[in-house]
Symmetry: C2
Subunit: 168 residues, 2 copies
């Protein structure tokens, strides 16, 4: 358990954190009558709203790795629960814009709120320098993961131009 390499410990810890957060999310989702995917969708939608990016089914499905049928079903679910509304884009009338409802925001907050409160409290024990270090670390990880994802995606579609999505 005590590795010589410092990076290993960090990777394992990071993995443990993500597993924990994943489970917390799943539990929260279940309690609120939605699926892990739905929660992730809400997070994406809230992010989009926050950065003024127009949210559409297509974009959402792409981010979550769903195909169009699954995306439609997902949006149906969210709409039925009143978290989003479908509104035809008046400029490009093929598109549907997803408007996030107040209750979705509230739900997101009820999930992240307590987490943030706790984290903020604990992070007060970190100096500015330490905080900067943590942020640098997280940014680094994020970039590595993004790169990894791109490269593996490239490997998958490079050799043969076959679709190869679900090797059941």
């Amino acid at each position: 358990m005590d590795e010589a390499e410092p990076g290993l410990q960090v990777v394992h810890q990071l993995r443990a954190v993500t597993v924990e957060l994943d489970l917390l999310g799943a539990e929260f989702a279940q309690r609120n009558g939605l699926h892990p995917t739905d929660l992730r969708a809400l997070i994406c939608l809230l992010d989009a709203a926050r950065s003024n990016t127009p949210a559409t089914p297509g974009r959402l499905g792409g981010q979550l790795g769903l195909n169009s049928a699954g995306t439609t079903a997902l949006v149906d679910r969210l709409e039925r629960l009143g978290h989003v509304r479908r509104v035809r884009d008046s400029r490009d009338r093929r598109r549907v814009l997803l408007e996030v409802d107040e209750r979705a925001v509230a739900l997101g907050w009820s999930f992240f709120g307590p987490l943030i409160t706790e984290m903020v409290a604990e992070l007060r024990t970190f100096s500015d320098t330490e905080l900067a270090t943590v942020q640098r670390f997280l940014l680094t990880v994020q970039q590595i993961l993004a790169a990894q994802r791109d490269s593996s995606k490239a490997t998958a579609s490079s050799p043969p131009p076959q679709k190869e999505r679900g090797p059941r």
Copy 2:
């Protein structure tokens, strides 16, 4: 958009990291003909093997939040792919021990290997003090998440004594 509170940024970054890692995992899983759950199960099994904890279907299902039927199906899948073997425990013959195959170890490594390599390389640019900070941060997060999970579990079963969810 730009929060005054430092904790918020960190939480958002952390969330972004977990989403990214999640997607990477899902993609990797799919490419290897298994489901996200299967990959998580493999991780749990490797962790168990690593810490000399006997792995059984019951334990595994508990960790992943599956009920017994789902767990059986999961183990069936893993066994069919040759990642684990079912072996009756000779001491308590109700139990089944899950032996992890080499190929599962190799598979786990092919997922985490590149990630670890990259991380270790990047983490070399961190001083010992900074590494310690990062580790303290991760540990803190882990504890907060665990606490959050416990408390929400308590809240769920407190008001009405209904079953609602698989008790451990």
